[in-house]
């Protein structure tokens, strides 16, 4: 039977743009162009490699996000995924990670899956906990932060590199896996892939399709409340120490004055 892979991909504001918060202290997603989170490209790449190695596999890319989040799906489809699922609903505005994981869990179940692949963290929220919560909600094993991953005979195996040691992990499918930016460079969309992407099906779902109540998600349903947000202070010019014989001493004095040493 075909291996069903679902890759969760997030549409994020371009990190090179000038990012701001909106008045309700959520990320202002209209002010900057969005794109497929770079870290999720690694998950798509691993899905493509796993699918190549399997006799028969189908890759669904799934996103929860605004209208423009379709761009993230198209990018993943142009890389080679087979179909897309887009969960979009006005009531999703302000949803936190608990709510997002609920929506993703319902959507993953709706699609049907053997393997769910995620990135290590989004490049905007960067909590890095979503895959774990998602696995918990689905009631399946989680194998997170892998820098090497393979699937064979209904089992997923992989390596997680820690500071002190590398662990070899294994789980029975179905499972949730997240991969790191060390898992292998993501491919660029080929010209054929780009042309094919538009013809690939994208299913649009809203909260009612997934049987989720509006008050379970959105700002109201969020477990966390953002009280305040401040702009990062401008970077100051820094101090340049010219070495005219006393450079070392001046450097040490600076470090002492800043309480670094």
């Amino acid at each position: 039977m075909s291996l069903r892979i679902v890759v969760c991909v997030k549409y994020v504001p371009d990190a090179t743009g000038d990012r701001h918060f909106a008045e309700d202290l959520t990320t202002d997603r209209d002010a900057v162009d969005g794109l497929l989170s770079e870290l999720d490209e690694y998950a798509v790449e691993q899905a493509l490699q796993i699918a190549d190695a399997a006799d028969d596999a189908e890759i669904t890319v799934l996103t929860v996000g605004p209208e423009d989040a379709k761009d993230a799906l198209r990018k993943a489809l142009s890389m080679g995924a087979d179909k897309g699922v887009h969960v979009e609903d006005d009531d999703l505005h302000g949803t936190d990670v608990v709510g997002t994981s609920l929506v993703l869990a319902k959507a993953v179940e709706h699609v049907g899956y053997d393997l769910v692949l995620c990135g290590m963290a989004s490049t905007d929220g960067t909590m890095g906990v979503l895959p774990a919560i998602l696995a918990e909600r689905l009631g399946v094993p989680q194998v997170t932060l892998l820098s090497e991953v393979a699937v064979a005979d209904g089992t997923v195996t992989g390596r997680r590199d820690g500071d002190a040691a590398s662990e070899q992990l294994q789980a029975q499918l179905p499972a949730v896996v997240s991969v790191t930016d060390q898992s292998g460079e993501a491919r660029y969309p080929s010209f054929k892939g780009i042309m094919a992407a538009k013809k690939k099906p994208v299913e649009s779902l809203d909260l009612s399709d997934l049987g989720i109540d509006a008050d379970e998600v959105g700002l109201g349903g969020a477990w966390t409340k953002v009280e305040d947000a401040a702009k990062r202070p401008e970077r100051t010019a820094g101090t340049i120490v010219k070495d005219e014989g006393e450079g070392g001493k001046q450097l040490a004095e600076f470090l002492v004055s800043q309480k670094f040493i």
Partner: protein, 391 residues
Amino acid sequence: MSVTFDNALLESEERRTLRASVAALGRRFGREYFTTAVREGRQTDELWQEAAKLGYLGVNLPEEYGGGGAGLSELAIVLEELGATGCPLLLLVVSPAICGTVIARFGTEEQKRRWLPGLADGTRRMAFGITEPDAGSNSHRITTTARRDGDTWVLTGRKVFVSGVDIADATLIVGRTEDARTGRLKPCLFVVERETPGFEFRHIPMELTAPEKQFQLFLDDVRLPADALVGDEDAGLLQLFAGLNPERVMTAAFSLGMGRYALQVAVEYARVRQVWKAPIGAHQAIAHPLAQARIDLELAGLMTRKAAFLYDAGDDMAAGEAANMAKYAAAEAGARAVDQAVHTLGGNGLTTEYGLASLLTASRVGRIAPVSREMILNFVCHHTLGLPRSY
């Protein structure tokens, strides 16, 4: 050929994705990769192969022969975006754009099967030779002549400034044959494989920082099989123009890419370089010319897309005028952008480290080749404005 007939002003989602993807690939290699290859006398083969694998090099060629089945619009995007990251692939101008187009449109089934799959997937390359020592701007004076001998052709002549002959499997040579009826010489196109006896090439040293080199060609009684002739012996001129319009559009894309690259380096520099209280980019004497460069590049880009659009729509006549105008506008915009970029960097504009100075010569190429600025102005004078000729 399946052409995406989208608006030349606003690019389709596919074309925008193609731009972004090619740009991402180009950035991974970057200017440093390009200049290192030049310094070490290597070709930028890794980039060529990577772009080939992704199907970017043959986007314009028919799908049934391994191409992308799109058009010149897409191929111009590929070259412009690579150029904008500082690593253009010059042979895209000749191999898929001129040679691929001519063979796809006028070649025999056998010629298409022999050449197109390789040109499309980048495993084979073809150079293009038309310029002669005494026939640059005046291509009516081409003297390279083919004579029939049994069922072979014998080709003799000289060519000059032909790019990439050493790395091309063959060169498409513009020669002439004698019209059996009138005795007049008419142009026709021959595929000359690199190792053919009697075909020799000599490197012309140029002051250009580019991996692709230019060559002088010596063809002395080069014996070619009958099927070296591409297309119809009697429709040579038409076929030639079918290849030259894409060449102009691609030269425009080359200039646009280079201009955008130089402008980007200048803008980044102007943002941080501080001489007085504010960064130099705040002084309007520095800022305004950069804004003008941006506007000129944008306008030339629009004209380039129009020319490609007309070509892809099959209107060779209208494409001819548009392609000439686009090439002119892009070459001027590119050269001015480079000039202003160099100036913006002050002394650093001339250092090897910042690498802009060598673009001063490279950006002049678009003003000279494949047709000079003056010859385009002549064309517009005669063809568009109906003014009398001086020559």
